[in-house]
Symmetry: C2
DNA sequence: ATCGACCGATACCCTGCTGATATGGATCAT
DNA sequence: ATGATCCATATCAGCAGGGTATCGGTCGAT
């Protein structure tokens, strides 16, 4: 019984995710035949069939599903080992804070001002990258908006506030009060929080995430609407965009999060500092609609 | 930035643990020069110095210590992926129960009788192997005696009972009452629970763990004494060995434990079954000394 | 029913990684 | 001073792992 190598796991994950040897090989930057051989060797090595190949499609066996889950975890742990080590080798120690631009509820300047244990290195990333950075050791701590996948993550809530719908100021719905989720059916961007999975999305073919400028451009021309926390709305309070409360829309909570395994004193101090600042901050208990009138 | 391979991590862990390239190479079944080269490449790859080599000794840098910790976790995760997958590929699903022989407090027959969700596969192992089996995916569930390292492990207590000291029946101390920990200074075997680390051990040079027969042979001739839970004493109630309570010796708790990540329904059912059986069992609340008189 | 497109497997070759041996250089004990 | 110890370097060999060409089976279109 020889040892598993991460290369084998990476190959398998690629094939399992793509359900296609050719695409997986392309993604891995290699040709298809050696990939087929590598998977066959992996199956031989484990003594288990992982994939069912018909010449039309590739499907996972139950054992393959187990390996897909476990391999993701294992690859994450290996990446973490590398990232944490690289960081530990830097001459200047720093606290690496992952956050999404504009999703700090205005706390960031005060946080950076108040926290003086270590220099703070900011990792700005798009949707979902904060969690990934915590998991693979690129970040020590992150600011996240609920909901998120809490497995392996410890967190403390900081600020809770309603989420609003952003729409074109000229939109007929902007004149109404008492908006409900169903009123927005079919117009919701699939980016941002995936909380309203059930609702259909507009007929865009963007499979790439949009940045804020792109999103607000779409909203401004009435092509879509979007849910966002009130503190983000405050950052983009501009003519042409209206923000309205929506009945039944879950509020958002800004939280500070860190890897459950982490025992860094610098992180503990940071969390206390941030909680302190958040506690001193005005809450969003009683939201009034913001945005310019039509 | 290329990817880390488990081979590199295994090599590094070996060197870090042995603090010696030659010994590490021997342990890995290879020659020393390629190992040196592999570690050098790893350091280059990470851009971090991991080891300080003098020609007399090898020491870890802080970054090296980080990598040692993280690499152990990562290697464990990779091994887990392999073990869980292998198991998932078996045609006959089974619940794999890890335990140490004779440490089941007599519950095992009733457990096996009552649990009929899946066939139960027993993994008998020595001290510490139960935890390792849970961590690397060879076992789904285990019976453990406190204390143990609970990181990554969920557990439920089953039975609590005092620990006793086992000594030769002819030992002068066996005639005394009210034994205390200090009375046994220097005579305690270092195997079994490591709870009494401070106390010196007898002058044996066994670095291999002893099995029960070997331990009781040593005890019987008066060469050593040993602490053990009362349910283990009951299994080895024989002439020549006396069991006595010791003041201040922490009681032991037999627990059922499983990986914190586990969400197997079969494990949940097993735990409930075992708790049920343990609840029906007489406790050891009021221990009387057992063992033959001098 | 036939043909072509698609897709994974096989056959075969070649490069470079990984491990082995020989040796150098530095440090410490005697 | 000298030998022992231990890690690094130099060099070579074998094979693991990647590439190209091609086969065979399946499905959809005509």
């Amino acid at each position: 019984m020889d040892h598993l190598e991460t290369r084998q796991l990476r190959y398998f994950v690629a094939v399992a995710e793509e359900q296609h040897f050719g695409r997986a090989a392309h993604r891995l930057g290699m040709a298809q035949p050696p990939l087929s051989r590598a998977i066959r060797d992996l199956e031989r090595h484990l003594g288990v069939q992982l994939l069912v190949r018909t010449s039309r499609r590739v499907a996972l066996t139950p054992a393959g599903q187990v390996l897909l889950d476990e391999a993701r975890i294992a690859l994450d742990a290996v990446a973490t080992a590398g990232n944490r080590t690289r960081h530990a080798g830097q001459e200047v120690p720093a606290l690496r804070l992952a956050l999404k631009a504009d999703h700090d509820a205005g706390l960031l300047p005060r946080i950076l001002d108040a926290y003086d244990v270590l220099p703070v290195e900011l990792l700005l990333g798009g949707y979902g990258e904060q969690l990934a950075a915590l998991h693979d050791g690129r970040a020590d701590v992150a600011l996240l908006t609920t909901p998120f996948d809490e497995r392996g993550i410890d967190s403390e809530p900081l600020v809770t506030g309603p989420r609003l719908v952003a729409m074109a100021a000229s939109d007929p719905l902007a004149a109404r009060t008492g908006l409900r989720l169903v009123d927005l059916t079919g117009r919701l961007l699939p980016y941002g929080t995936p909380a309203e999975k059930g609702l259909p999305t507009p007929p865009f073919d963007h499979h790439e995430p949009l940045d804020h400028s792109q999103i607000f451009s779409l909203i401004e021309v009435g092509a879509a609407v979007w849910f966002l926390p009130v503190w983000l709305a405050e950052r983009f309070d501009r003519p042409g965009i209206a923000y309205r409360p929506v009945e039944g829309l879950e509020p958002a909570t800004l939280t500070v999060a860190w890897p459950a395994r982490s025992r860094l004193a610098a992180v503990a101090t940071f969390v206390r500092t941030v909680q302190q600042i958040a506690g001193d901050t005005a809450t969003y208990d009683n939201p009034a609609p913001v945005g310019h009138p039509v």
